[in-house]
Symmetry: C2
Subunit: 211 residues, 2 copies
């Protein structure tokens, strides 16, 4: 198909598709001439995925490119993909940066290390989620709403069970690339849904306690 059909079928303006092509979110079509290129179903699929990450999940174009790149690069090493997929907001830490800044102890890093050790979790030293967690806990504490160890453990155990459900969504028999994409959907794109479920559950639980 040509760009206009891709645009029609995805409801994304052609100008925006061109922008995504320039930004490397979408691979170029097969050029048939100087002013003609052919796109296929995989482009359509990718375009819808990009739109979902940007629109529903709220990722920036940059983060989207990085996430898609990481998925493509590490397809086949599933647990790498799941770990590397970058943190929601603060993308400040890459592996190299973490190495060079190793001397600068992140705020809250000690508590995070302790928690991970206590639970016996096996996670990379450089997982961006470590820094995000540490920073958030530290901020909560500085605002006088710090969690005690027991509560934090409670949340971690629920996260553990969530992760079991997450991994159950994946089919180890599927082809690596397809599975990597599905992992992306079930982790990153699922996030708004999980937060929404939590808000609904909070409202319900609050009503229940109210009497």
């Amino acid at each position: 198909m040509r760009i206009s059909e891709l645009s029609r079928r995805s409801a994304v303006p052609t100008a925006t598709i061109k922008y995504y092509l320039r930004e490397g979110l979408l691979p170029p079509g097969r050029a048939t001439a100087a002013t003609q290129a052919e796109y296929d179903e995989s482009h359509l699929r990718r375009l819808r995925l990009v739109r979902a990450l940007i629109g529903v999940r709220g990722l920036s174009v940059n983060d989207t490119r990085e996430v898609l790149g990481a998925v493509a690069e590490h397809a086949g090493e599933r647990h790498q993909v799941l770990g590397l997929v970058l943190g929601a907001r603060p993308v400040e830490e890459t592996v190299e940066e973490a190495e060079t800044e190793a001397a600068a102890p992140e705020p809250g890093a000690a508590e995070v290390d302790a928690l991970i050790g206590e639970l016996g979790w096996e996670v990379s030293e450089y997982a961006p989620a470590r820094a995000v967690l540490g920073e958030t806990l530290e901020t909560l504490r500085s605002l006088g709403a710090g969690l005690d160890r027991a509560a934090l453990r409670g949340y971690a155990e629920l996260a553990e069970r969530t992760a079991v459900l997450d991994l159950d969504q994946l089919d180890p028999e599927a082809d690596p690339l397809e599975q990597a994409e599905r992992a992306l959907l079930c982790t990153v794109l699922m996030e708004p849904a999980l937060l929404a479920l939590r808000r609904l559950a909070q409202e319900n639980e609050s009503a229940r306690r109210e009497g």
Copy 2:
């Protein structure tokens, strides 16, 4: 204290503090003269809260104002606050809008209604989280990664247990306004931490299954 001290103690530039004052994120200080105003500890506290919502959680200035407004307005009706605190990204739906657009069935709304009914949850018809959840589930399905009913229930039950932990963090004896602020911290500001925990748990669970 004057603005320069507020700035120094919060590490926020005075120009930014003035911006927040204009935007109504920070209440004005007590004016002592035409070009002088006095700020107190409550301003400092509020400023740190605002910074945390914007910086750590990634809320926009607009969303931050709305969240703070909702908390102030409904302090004392805790479960209202917990429910009304608006959805992370798509802020498209207010109660009034939902009412006027009542005829336009949201995509995925039926599934959300069914889930909430099945679980016996008591949540407002107009909770923004309903729309967020519906839209996300619908998008996942359209990308071929839809969840089956059982998996969705599993996530919802974990959300339920998370909500129990959340509510346990609140002290019903505390004064309403203070409690409302704590609720805000434990729900909204906690979100990045929960997502980070989930990513860490995923990496761990994936490693566990791998070998």
